[in-house]
Amino acid sequence: MNTKSRWMAVIGITTLFTIAGCTDTTSTTTQDTTTEDTTEATAVAESEWFDQAVFDKQSGEREVAPQGPVGQPYLQHINAEMVSTADYAIDGAGKVCFANASISNPWRVTGWITMNQQLQVLMDSGAISEMETRDAQDSDDTQIADIDYFIEEGGCDLFLISPNSTAAMTPAVERACETGKPVVVFDRGVLTDCPVTFIHPIGGFAWGIDTAEFLISNLEAGDRVVALRILPGVDVLETRWASAKVLFEDAGIDAVDYFTGADPAEIKKIISDELAKGDVRGIWMDAGDGGVAALEAFEDAGVPYPVMTGEDQIAFMNKWQATGITALAPVYSNFQWRTALLAAAKIFSGEEVPKEWILPQQPITGDMLEAVLALNVGMPDGHYATFGGEDLPGYPAVWQERLVP
C-alpha cells in the first residue's frame, strides 16, 4: 500500500471514529429497518414486550391478598381458578420427570437445592417415588430433546418443566401433554395452556412497577437512573424493564440501560463512566447479581450512594445493611421451586390445583431487612432470601454449604 492509500485509510478510520463519537442517540433501542421482506414486524422493544393488558392484570394482582395457608407463601395463590386433578390421581408414589432449563445462575442453584430438600420430604411421605432430571444447560434444542427423551424413555407419571424459553418450548410441551400424563410448568411459561398448572410469581411487570415506583418516589424528575440488565431477550427479564421504562418516562426520570452479563468488572466500568458524565442518583437492576460491584463503583468515585433496587440476593442485602442505603429488594419468589413439587404431589393425590398458580411476590423493604437477614445468617452470597425452605430438613446447613445436588 503506498503512502497515498495509507493516508486515505487514516482519514477513513478517523471519520469512523468521529461518527462513533457523534452518535448521540440514547441507549434505549431505536426502530430498525430490517432487510428481509417479512410479514412479521420486528418491532421496537417497547411494543414487543410491553403488554398493557398483562401490565394491568399484574398491577392488580399486587394488591390482592393471597389465599392459602398463612406463613407458607409457597402454597398460597392469587385469584386462582381451581381445576380438578382427579383424573390424574394414582395409587402410591409417582415418578416425576423434570426437564430443567439449567442451573447456570445463583437464583436457579438456590431453587434447585431447595427443590431437592423438598423432594426428600415428599419421598419420605410416599408421595413421590423418584425425580429424574435432565439439565438442558440453557439450550432450547437440548431441552426439546430432553422432553422427547422423557416421553419416549422416561416412564414418567408426571412431566415437570422449567422452560428455557417461551415460544420455542411450546411444541415440546404440547407433545408431553399429548401423552395423557399431567404436565406442570413453572418459572417461564409456554404458549399453550395444556399443562395442568402453570406456577409462577406475579410477574415481571409487577417487578417493574414495584421497583420503578420505589425509585420514582425517592427521586425527582430529571434525576439520572442507570439500569443494569443482565442479558437481552430473556422474557422474564425483558418484561421487568419494559414496565419500569414506561413508568420512568412518565415520571420524567432520565433512565439509561446497559447490558452487563452480570460481570462485576463490566458493571464497575459502566457506572464509573456514567459517574464521569454526571450525577447518578439511582440504580435499577433487573436481577441482583453484581449489585455489590455497582455500589463499590460509587465508593471508588467518592460520591454519595444512589437509591437502589437490587434483588433478594444475600450479597446485595448484606451490603444494603452495611451501607444503610435507601433500597428495595424485589423478589422473583424463589420458593416456586418448592411449589412445583408440592403441586406434583397434589396432582398425584387428586387434589385440586389452580390452573394458573400465581404465587405472592412481596418485595423486601427497608423495615423488613433486618428480620429477613436474621433468618439467613451464615448464608453464602449467592443465596436468595425467598427460598422458602426454613421449615425443610437440613435448614440452614444445606443452604450454607451450598453443595449442588
Binding site: M1, T3, R6, W7, A9, V10, G12, I13, T14, L16, F17, T18, A20, G21, C22, T23, D24, T25, T26, S27, T28, T29, T30, I103, S104, N105, P106, R108, V109, V256, D257, Y258, F259, G261, A262, D263, P264, A265, I267, K268, K269, S272, D273, E274, A276, K277, D289, G290, V292, A293, E296, D300, A315, P380, D381, G382, H383, R402, L403, V404
Partner: protein, 361 residues
C-alpha cells in the same frame, strides 16, 4: 536558503507524520484518536485523577495481553486465560475469606496454580504435539467447569479489604494524580519486565520460533521448554490480572469471561501477527488500551448497548486489515535485510521486513 529550511522542515514534519501513520505504529495512532474522542466527549476525563482511574481499570486486561503476546508471537494460542482468572479469583475469595493473615500464603498458592496450568498447557502442546488452540480450549473447559462446580455458579464472598486494596486502592496523596492506584504500579512493573524479557535471547528465540518453525531443528534451543515458558508467562499474567480483579471487581465466577478473546484481539490490534513471528510488547500494551478506550468511547457516546458489538467488530477488522495490508505493501517493496522489530524503536516507513512464513496469515 529560506526555501531550503522550509523544505527540510516540511520534510521532517512529513517524515514524523509518516512515522505515526506507519502501520507498525498504527495502533498508537488509533489510541491517540480514541483518547482524543473521549476527551472531546467528556473533558473531565482528561483530569489526571480521572485518567489514572482509567489506567487502573485497563491494567488487568493490559497485563493479560502482554502475557498473551509471548504465546502469540511464538505461533501459539492461549485460550485458557479467561477461565484461569475466574479460578484465581474464586481461590482468593474462598481461601482468604476475611482473614487477612492468609493473604501471603494464598498469593503464593495462586502463583503456583498459575504456573502449573501454564506448565501443563506448554508441555501438552509442545511435547505431546497437540495444537495449543486445542490444549488451551480443553483447559478452558476444564477450569470453567471446575470453578462453576465448586462455586455452584455464584459469588462466594469478597475477601478481606486488605487483599482487595491491591486492585482497588493505591497510594493516597500522590502528586498530580491524587490517588496512585497499586494496579497502575503493578502494570508499570509488568510492562518493564515484559519489555526486558522480550529483548533477551529468550524473547528473540520465541519470535524466531514463531517466524520460522524450521528453526526448531537448527536453533539448538530446547524449543519445547522455550514455548512452555511462554505459556507459563501467559498463565502468570492471568494470575496477576486475577489478583487485580479480585480487588476491582470482587469475587464472581463470571469475572474474566471472554478475556482470552479480548487479549488476543488487543494483541493483534497492537501489531502481533497471529501465527507468530512479529510484534512487540509495547504494541500489545497499546492494543489493550486501544480496545478499552474503544469501549469507553462507546459508553460516553451513548451508542445503543446493542450496537456496541457491531461497532467493535467493524473497528477490529478495519484496524487489523489496515496493518495487514500495509505490511504486505512494505514487504513487497523491501530488500532482504531482516529488521528485527521486536523491542526496537520506531522505524521510518519504507523499511522492509523479511517474511519466510506462508503468506496466508
Amino acid at each position: 536558503m529560506m526555501r531550503e529550511i522550509r523544505n527540510s522542515a516540511g520534510k521532517s514534519v512529513a517524515r514524523s507524520v509518516a512515522v505515526i501513520v506507519d502501520p507498525r505504529q498504527a495502533v498508537f495512532l488509533v489510541l491517540i484518536l480514541l483518547l482524543a474522542t473521549i476527551f472531546f466527549l467528556n473533558p473531565g476525563f482528561a483530569e489526571p485523577s480521572q485518567f489514572i482511574r482509567f489506567v487502573q481499570r485497563v491494567a488487568p486486561i493490559a497485563i493479560l495481553t502482554m502475557g498473551q503476546f509471548f504465546v502469540l508471537v511464538s505461533g501459539e494460542f492461549d485460550l485458557s486465560v479467561g477461565a484461569l482468572i475466574a479460578v484465581q479469583v474464586v481461590v482468593a475469595g474462598n481461601l482468604i475469606g476475611q482473614d487477612e493473615s492468609k493473604s501471603i500464603p494464598v498469593l503464593i498458592l495462586m502463583f503456583f496454580i498459575g504456573l502449573v496450568v501454564g506448565l501443563v498447557n506448554g508441555l501438552v502442546s509442545s511435547l505431546l504435539r497437540v495444537p495449543s488452540f486445542v490444549v488451551t480450549l480443553g483447559m478452558m473447559l476444564v477450569l470453567l467447569g471446575g470453578v462453576y462446580f465448586v462455586t455452584g455458579g455464584s459469588a462466594s464472598g469478597n475477601p478481606a479489604d486488605g487483599f482487595r486494596s491491591i486492585g482497588r486502592g493505591g497510594i493516597e496523596g500522590f502528586p498530580i494524580f491524587g490517588l496512585m492506584p497499586w494496579a497502575v504500579i503493578v502494570l508499570i512493573v509488568c510492562t518493564l519486565l515484559a519489555s526486558y524479557v522480550s529483548t533477551r535471547p529468550f524473547g528473540k528465540t520465541l519470535i524466531a520460533i514463531g517466524d520460522n518453525p524450521e528453526t526448531q531443528f537448527y536453533s539448538g534451543a530446547r524449543v519445547w521448554w522455550t514455548k512452555t515458558q511462554a505459556f507459563m508467562i501467559s498463565s502468570t499474567s492471568a494470575t496477576v490480572a486475577g489478583i487485580l480483579l479480585v480487588g476491582y471487581a470482587g469475587v464472581h465466577p463470571s469475572v474474566g469471561r471472554g478475556y482470552e478473546f479480548i487479549a488476543i484481539t488487543a494483541a493483534v490490534l497492537g501489531g502481533v501477527v497471529l501465527g507468530g513471528g512479529r510484534g512487540w510488547v509495547l504494541g500489545a500494551l497499546a492494543g489493550a488500551f486501544t480496545l478499552e478506550a474503544l469501549f469507553t468511547v462507546l459508553n460516553f457516546a451513548d451508542v445503543p448497548s446493542t450496537w456496541r458489538d457491531s461497532v467493535q467488530g467493524i473497528i477490529i477488522i478495519a484496524a487489523v486489515a489496515y496493518s495487514a495490508v500495509s505490511r504486505n505493501g512494505i514487504r513487497r517493496k523491501g530488500t532482504n535485510s531482516a529488521s528485527p522489530e521486536i523491542g526496537e524503536g520506531a522505524s521510518a516507513s519504507g523499511r522492509s521486513a523479511q517474511n519466510t512464513s506462508p503468506s496466508h496469515d
